[in-house]
Amino acid sequence: MRWPGGIAAGLVLALTLGTLGAVAWRAGFALRLGPADWAAIRFTIWQAALSALVSVVLAIPVARALARQRFPGRAALVTLLGAPFILPVIVAVIGLIGVFGRGGILNDALGLAGLGPVSVYGWHGVVLAHVFFNLPLAVRLILQGWLSIPAERFRLAASLGAPVGRLLEGPMLRAVAPGAFAVIFLICLTSFAVALTLGGGPRATTVELAIYQAVRFDFDLGRAAMLAVVQFALCAAAALGLRAAGAPEALGAGLDRVVEHHAPGGRMLDALSVTLAALFLMAPLAMILARGLPGLADLPGGLWPAAARSVAVALGATALTLAMALALALRGGALARLSMLLPLAASGLVMGTGLFVLLHPLVSPREVALLVTMLVNAVMALPFAARVIAPAVAQAEAGHGRLADSLGLHGLARLRWLILPRIRRPLGFAAGLTAALSMGDLGVIALFAGDGQATLPLLMVRLMSAYRMEQAAGVALVLLAISLALFWIFDRGGRVDAAA
């Protein structure tokens, strides 16, 4: 069946390139960038590069330690490295403020030592949050590189007395690190929620945040459109750079292995790296709990309606993303591959601005805020879901496609008897991923939503900007619990009774 994939590709193209065209048209194709715009562009590129560099450099010793040492809790730590991906950004920000913020534990400690307070707000807060999110990703990518060095090579190097570092690890890092850097750079380019909550001001405004401010506060659609074009160009350039650097396999399994390493050494250094990394990741998570639990006693009004809206949007986006990913995987070909990648170069706010421009004359954007959010979330999650589903479909076809052909299984019959049963686990995982991503999304909803339309992340932002941090932390805990529950239910659903 090829036509559902065609529809999915059309939807992706319309929502990415179509919305971009709409904003470009609205901007009158004129690029007149003012000093503030240039500042936003410079900051966006600079913070993304710095975040990616710091993440990759810090990840190398951690990945090496995980690759060559066995220790209790190693498996748990590797699992933890996957957690930030489904952790809502805004929830993590609460945790980071709890550690590094004005009243956070770090400043308490510094105060005891007689040192002045540090602030988490500003460019360093943005970079800190990005490193928190992407250090685990970098560790996973580089660990994958370490584990992909065949054990025989380590044995050979050992038998020759050759330096493992220069002979094996150096070339591996030169192959893997640029890809990891490029992925993280691209992710940080599209940063909105972090910049909104920790950045801002002339020295820490990203292009995405500038788009939001232009639409939401100045209602300057022309400027928003122009910035949207700039943002798309930035992301497209970064995506091309990622292709050149070699896109690494981010969601690969099998990280629970330990390299059979013949020159382990450096146990102290490894222990230090792992401990610091674990602390850096777990302290904010612990603070989410520590700050959130008291907040549960004083949850704000409007919490449960917001939760219901979030869940409804997440479930709708999940259904749409899975349908699109499956349709594209079944269709195959260049158009499908493009559609699976294109959303990586798009940004939710660009899509939102485009839809705003297109819908503004027809309906009030507020009336369709949740629908638009669902659509944008579905498209934004597509690359991740497709990355999980497409290989599984290919594997099902490779294993049993000929049998299905010989029996005449086509269309829905093939889907029902061959594809769906064979891809249950990846489908469940992709569904969990999409639901969690959508639950935590704070982007387009901030652009559109009226008073009675907040989702949980937006409710949190509103509470935070009103300095009601305790309530925000309580909401963060609720949001986190629902996100994890959705992820668990879907992922579990794919595993239960999944036949070999």
Binding site: D405, S406, L407, G408, W417, A500
Partner: protein
């Protein structure tokens, strides 16, 4: 009657040509060195591979442009002949109808054919709960249900031990060839061929030779077959 007319298949450096007729009711072994194109020949006949030139026809009806399931052919592969996630009954039902529907009549037919291959009462099992030999029997049962006049066996029993393989070949011939079907099977073992084949097609050096009667061919093999058999 299977007819291959000036059939040519090219894949990079590899090429295979065939131009012959296989009489109805034949049990024909396809023999020859590894990489010679035995499986490729079967794939072209079954419709998984479009030939670069020539035609495949059955009883005068051209098959070359038809999809595998539209051909009067059923095929068993080296592996993956059953869907591991479906019960034996559902696997067999897909041989009757690609929609996989089951009704009382079909259940009865499936039960009967399972009995014929020695798998009585195994309907509810998944393939993983069956031994290798039983899985082969289930796959044969589906071929019986599909009831196509030409059956291609691309070494489906290769993973079984020698004794079990002979048993399955005997069963295949008994239940399939016994009803006037034509069998074309890849074989590595001259004993297998001698045991059940009426004819042999030798595939070597880019050609699939016309079928020749098995007994005289094996008794006095031509040089190519002699080299392959190591005599």
């Amino acid at each position: 009657m299977l007819r291959l007319e000036k059939l040519e298949i090219r894949q990079g450096d590899f090429a295979l040509a065939a131009d012959w007729v296989l009489p109805d009711g034949a049990v024909c072994a396809v023999m020859g060195p590894s990489g010679g194109g035995k499986s490729t020949l079967l794939a072209a006949i079954a419709g998984f591979l479009a030939p670069d030139a020539g035609r495949v026809s059955w009883d005068g009806r051209e098959l070359t442009a038809l999809r595998p399931a539209q051909r009067p052919i059923s095929i068993l592969f080296q592996d993956n002949n059953l869907f591991p996630h479906l019960s034996i009954e559902r696997n067999l039902a897909l041989g009757i109808d690609p929609k996989g529907r089951l009704d009382a009549d079909r259940r009865t037919r499936i039960a009967q054919v399972l009995e014929r291959v020695g798998l009585r009462g195994m309907e509810a099992r998944r393939p993983a709960a069956l031994s290798g030999g039983q899985q082969s029997r289930a796959a044969l049962a589906r071929v019986l249900l599909m009831d196509r006049p030409l059956v291609l066996l691309d070494e489906p029993f290769a993973a079984l031990g020698p004794g079990l393989r002979m048993e399955m070949l005997d069963l295949a011939r008994a239940v399939l060839a016994g009803e006037g079907r034509t069998l074309l099977m890849v074989s590595h073992d001259p004993e297998d061929a001698a045991r059940i084949a009426s004819d042999i097609v030798l595939v070597d050096a880019g050609r699939a030779e016309p079928p020749a009667p098995a007994a005289p061919l094996l008794a006095d093999p031509p040089p190519a077959l002699r080299a392959y058999l190591g005599r």
